[in-house]
């Protein structure tokens, strides 16, 4: 700890306020503070956790405000040596691809902390959540392979304890499965990272784990690059999760406590898709291009499989979990289609999925709190007794389906038009996934909310104002991003274009037109 603490103080002395370092360290220190507090005053513990997470959220918003739009570079970079002999540094930076993921992380955690009551052992629960936040922030901000791996792997520990300690009946099975699955992916990635660094030593000139330096200077032979890329890809594919490595996800989601599900779906799954963009495509453009068919196919299988499996679920939470597999399939499709629209759409879809699925998990959690069941067949006619609750659920659900005017549409649409240029038939099949999403969500809604309430459903409580306050930011984001996505696109796109042109430089890839200009609205894009 002391090493990093001295880093932070050294940084404060030399430059402006190191906001990125603070985004990582504040929640970590907060977790330590909470761990040392007395558990006899749970309300103080909770208040401290809320204050810390809200402060981090405010920091992330401040970071968003000071982000320079239109620039594709990494901004607010802080870089300090950590392990000199191995060329490892504390290197953080933010660009358009990671910007909104960081903000989403910053905003989602306070909402999850405020909105969900763990029922027992509040103190360790809150400490783990804050530690998780630090890990997720670090993963999104790291520009050093070693540092990224440290954060990528460290998030497993708090998540393991959150699922195992505060989950439902089969929580220990689910937590262990989650831990081992992800760790086996990381096992390959660690070897991949070390091999990348050592093999690039000749081209770079010295041993370094610095992402930017490796990506710009390294030049791997096609076969070497492919193996290295696969080593990274396994870790990310497990995390996304991509078919057929997805089996941990339904268990983890279903058994996780509500806050765990919100965070898992909202930001942790994006570590996989973000990893593909930041470390897969950026470091190994040639290998990513050569193997794009594999990933496009798996993505499309994931879209269809996730949707079909979701249709068949009896458990509402499991249904949402499978729908995540389908939604993340779109992001992978957009990523490997490699056009600036599709990748921009993928990045937007990461945020949108985080918002809408996060809200869905909160709502399902609220249903469970009231009825102590998530069985679709046990729920009926909730719309009659809780109309406001039903209305909120409808909006969130429609956003998840991707109805125009709400945020889900923007990302999905950009992915589909972008992918159509380079991966036509995959896109055609994937588009049917959009219809399937409408099918399983509307069908579930129909069974849960329509009809006459029976038995216990008659006493289903209406949305409490506190719950409403937690959901309000989600609804605002859903509507705002659906109606006016331009501010987001303006910030995301320069970095995406820089990534595509990096791929072009390295591999001679020519991105097909039409191109989306930052001044245009999405309706103009439809007509090429």
């Amino acid at each position: 700890m002391s090493a990093i603490a001295t880093l932070a103080s050294a940084e404060a002395a030399t430059s402006n306020f190191p906001v990125l370092t603070a985004l990582v360290l504040v929640p970590a220190v907060g977790a330590l503070i909470i761990a040392t507090m007395s558990k006899r005053r749970p309300e103080w513990v909770k208040l401290t956790a809320i204050l810390i997470s809200v402060f981090v959220g405010a920091l992330s918003v401040w970071m968003l405000a000071s982000f320079k739009t239109g620039s594709s570079d990494f901004q607010m970079v802080s870089k300090h040596e950590w392990i000199k002999t191995w060329g490892i540094s504390w290197h953080l930076g933010v660009d358009g691809i990671s910007l909104f993921l960081v903000v989403l992380t910053g905003v989602l955690f306070p909402l999850a902390i405020i909105g969900v009551d763990p029922h027992h052992d509040e103190k360790p629960y809150l400490a783990w959540l804050l530690l998780l936040e630090a890990g997720v922030m670090g993963s999104f901000l790291s520009l050093d392979l070693f540092l990224f791996f440290v954060f990528f792997e460290i998030v497993l520990v708090p998540m393991y304890f959150l699922i195992g300690g505060w989950g439902y009946d089969k929580r220990i099975y689910a937590a262990t499965k989650f831990f081992l699955y992800t760790m086996i992916g990381s096992a390959f990635m660690l070897v991949g990272i070390i091999a990348t660094v050592l093999l690039a030593k000749g081209a770079v000139g010295h041993i370094t784990f610095d992402l930017v330096e490796l990506a710009t200077k390294s030049n791997f032979a096609a076969s070497t690059g492919r193996w290295l890329f696969f080593a990274f890809a396994i870790a990310f594919a497990v995390k996304v999760p991509m078919f057929p490595l997805h089996t941990w996800l339904p268990d983890a989601h279903t058994q996780a406590p509500t806050a765990g599900s919100v965070v898992l779906a909202g930001v942790m799954l994006k570590l996989g898709t973000y990893g593909f963009l930041r470390f897969g495509l950026y470091l190994f453009p040639q290998a990513a291009r050569n193997s794009r068919e594999i990933f496009l196919t798996l993505a499309v299988i994931g879209i269809l499989y996730g949707a079909i499996a979701a249709t068949m679920q009896k458990d509402l939470k499991r249904l949402v979990a499978y729908s995540s597999i389908a939604h993340l399939g779109f992001i992978v499709l957009g990523t490997f289609a490699m056009t600036s629209q599709s990748v921009t759409g993928g990045v937007m879809q990461m945020i949108n999925h985080g918002v809408s699925t996060g809200a869905l998990f909160l709502l399902v959690g609220m249903i469970y709190e009231r009825r102590h069941t998530r069985e679709i067949s046990a729920l009926k006619g909730l719309q009659k007794v809780a109309p406001v609750f039903a209305a909120v659920f409808t909006i969130v659900m429609l956003s998840s389906i991707g109805v125009p005017g709400l945020n889900g549409f923007v990302g999905e649409f950009l992915v589909l038009i972008g992918s159509f240029l380079t991966a036509r038939w995959w896109t055609v099949v994937a588009a049917s996934g959009v219809i399937l999403a409408a099918l399983y969500l509307l069908w579930a809604y129909q069974r849960v909310f329509h009809g006459e309430p029976d038995d216990d459903n008659k006493t289903f409580a209406e949305l409490h104002w506190k719950e409403g306050m937690v959901l309000l930011p989600f609804l605002a984001a859903i509507v705002f991003c659906g109606v006016y996505p331009k501010p987001m696109i303006d910030r995301i796109q320069p970095s995406v274009k820089a990534l595509i042109s990096h791929i072009s430089d390295k591999t001679g890839y020519v991105e097909p037109q039409p191109e989306l200009h930052s001044g245009e609205t999405q309706t103009e894009v439809v007509q090429p």
Partner: protein, 508 residues
């Protein structure tokens, strides 16, 4: 070689031998003084052992700078080497000795066996271990090996009230004696092939005698020595003794065996293979490869099905031995220079020694009076009774699983980096995957500690108490584990220097 009547005693650099002399002298003085005086007050036996260990440690730090300044050399007519490899090993052994003595302190009092014998044996074992890491001659190596082993046989059987302890001692003694015989036969054959037992001469014999690389004596000798060393580091398929002995031996003794014993054996393995026998590296390296893979898989897979925590940790220790063998394999590629593998190996040994003592210290405490409550069930609900102890155990287990920001991760990266640098990708992948399998076992212990409620009827059980000395040891181990996890640079730099060995041909 020496003609009668012309015996010239070798010049002895007493300063260079000081850690050895401190440990040996300290051990003898402790034994004699304790035999002549009535029972010493509480803590005094253990703390004097710690003082002796710290004194030896202090001399090694002085020597470290001395070698950095004046360079490495060999001592006592080329029988011992005085270099950073030896010192790094000695430091690890001294740290292990001090920590194990702290844990033993409370253990012996709890079991009603307080006395100086165990500490005397600890010090003698440490002397043997230091001789092993310093050795530059096969016979000297064998002397060290036997000194260490005999002390360990007695230590394993030292709890006279538990039949398991007796059984462990006998088992270890019979099998250990058997493996020593293999090793000794290997020495004989190498002597037959090269005409010497001195590492310097063995290395030179390849060119000067000349010994053919396909010389049957030499090849069989290398093989037999690998069997002997493989037994000592409990590498598969020579590992069968270790689960039984680890489980049966008193828990602090197990900690001592797993740290000091392993360190000495691996350092000796590096010396024999890299310094004496690099010319046969194309022959022994594939063997090490196969043994490493077997050890990794056997250790991690067998660990999963165990229900006794001591036995689990024994198998996990086998799996760690597999990881350390990765470093040996990598060192083999680089041959005599051993650039990549040796630092990784030695760093792993130091980190693992601290980790394993910390883990077994917690097991000692949870084992309660009688040292028998070491099944998984005894750990249920530990977090409710002793949250700090549970947290320390969690740190150790996560570190053993190789989770970042703990020392265990740095250790793993060190050896993986070494093998990847030699393009042994398959070995690296197998090792990491087996680490995931092994992680399941650590998760099982953590589930019992944190997530399971105490067994019904558990209130009749004696509560878990953390006594002073053990508490200090656990705190030190946990502190080291986290500190190295966050700030590993200094340890990496220090271990990088172990490649600076007393070059056989420069010594005198």
């Amino acid at each position: 070689m020496i003609a009668a009547g012309t015996f010239n005693p070798p010049s002895i650099d007493w300063f260079a031998l000081s850690p050895l002399l401190v440990l040996l002298g300290g051990g003898l003085v402790l034994l004699v003084a304790a035999a002549l005086t009535p029972q010493w007050p509480k803590h005094l036996y253990a703390w004097s052992t710690v003082a002796i260990g710290l004194a030896a440690l202090a001399t090694t730090f002085v020597q470290w700078h001395d070698i950095s300044k004046d360079g490495a050399k060999t001592l006592v007519g080329g029988a011992l080497s005085y270099d950073h490899l030896a010192l790094f090993g000695t430091i690890t052994i001294c740290i292990g000795l001090c920590l194990a003595a702290l844990v033993t302190d409370d253990f012996l009092r709890r079991e009603g066996m307080e006395g100086p014998e165990v500490y005397g044996l600890f010090l003698m074992a440490a002397v043997g271990a230091v001789v092993m890491v310093m050795s530059n001659d096969l016979i000297v190596l064998f002397l060290g090996l036997e000194t260490l082993s005999i002390a360990l046989y007695v230590l394993a059987a030292s709890n006279r009230r538990r039949v398991e302890s007796q059984e462990a001692g006998i088992k270890y003694f019979v099998l250990g004696g058997f493996s020593s015989a293999f090793f000794l036969y290997g020495i004989a054959l190498i002597y037959g092939a090269t005409g010497s037992t001195n590492f310097t001469t063995i290395l030179a014999a390849f060119d000067s005698v000349p010994v053919h690389r396909r010389d049957a004596f030499a090849l069989v000798g290398v093989g037999l020595m690998l069997v002997g060393l493989g037994f000592k580091v409990s590498a598969a398929p020579f590992h069968f003794w270790s689960p039984d002995v680890y489980q049966g031996a008193p828990t602090p003794i197990t900690a001592f065996m797993a740290s000091v014993g392993k360190t000495a054996a691996f350092a000796a393995m590096l010396r024999v293979l890299i310094i004496a026998l690099p010319n046969w590296k194309d022959d022994w390296r594939p063997v090490i490869w196969v043994i490493a893979v077997l050890t990794l898989l056997v250790g991690s897979i067998s660990a999963v099905v165990q229900t006794n925590v001591k036995r689990m940790l024994a198998y996990s220790s086998i799996s760690h031995a597999g990881f350390i063998l990765l470093g040996v394999e990598a060192a083999g590629h680089a041959g005599a220079s051993g650039a990549g593998g040796m630092p990784g190996t030695m760093m792993y040994l130091m980190i693992y020694s601290v980790l394993v003592i910390g883990t077994f210290a917690v097991v000692t405490v949870v084992g309660r009076t009688g040292d028998a409550a070491t099944d998984l069930g005894s750990f249920r609900g530990l977090s409710k009774q002793q949250p700090l102890l549970a947290m320390a155990l969690t740190v150790f287990l996560l570190a053993q699983a190789g989770v970042p920001l703990t020392s265990g991760f740095i250790a793993k990266v060190g050896v993986i980096k070494a093998v990847v640098d030699e393009h042994s990708y398959a070995l690296a992948i197998i090792a990491m995957v087996s680490a995931v399998i092994a992680a399941f076992l650590y998760l099982r212990i953590m589930v019992n500690v944190w997530l399971a409620d105490p067994e019904t009827g558990d209130d009749t059980r004696e509560p878990v108490r953390v006594p002073l000395s053990t508490g200090i040891a656990i705190a030190l181990c946990a502190g080291f584990t986290l500190y190295v996890g966050f700030n590993p640079g200094w340890l990496i730099d220090a271990s990088d220097m172990v490649t600076n060995v007393a070059r056989p041909l420069t010594g005198g």
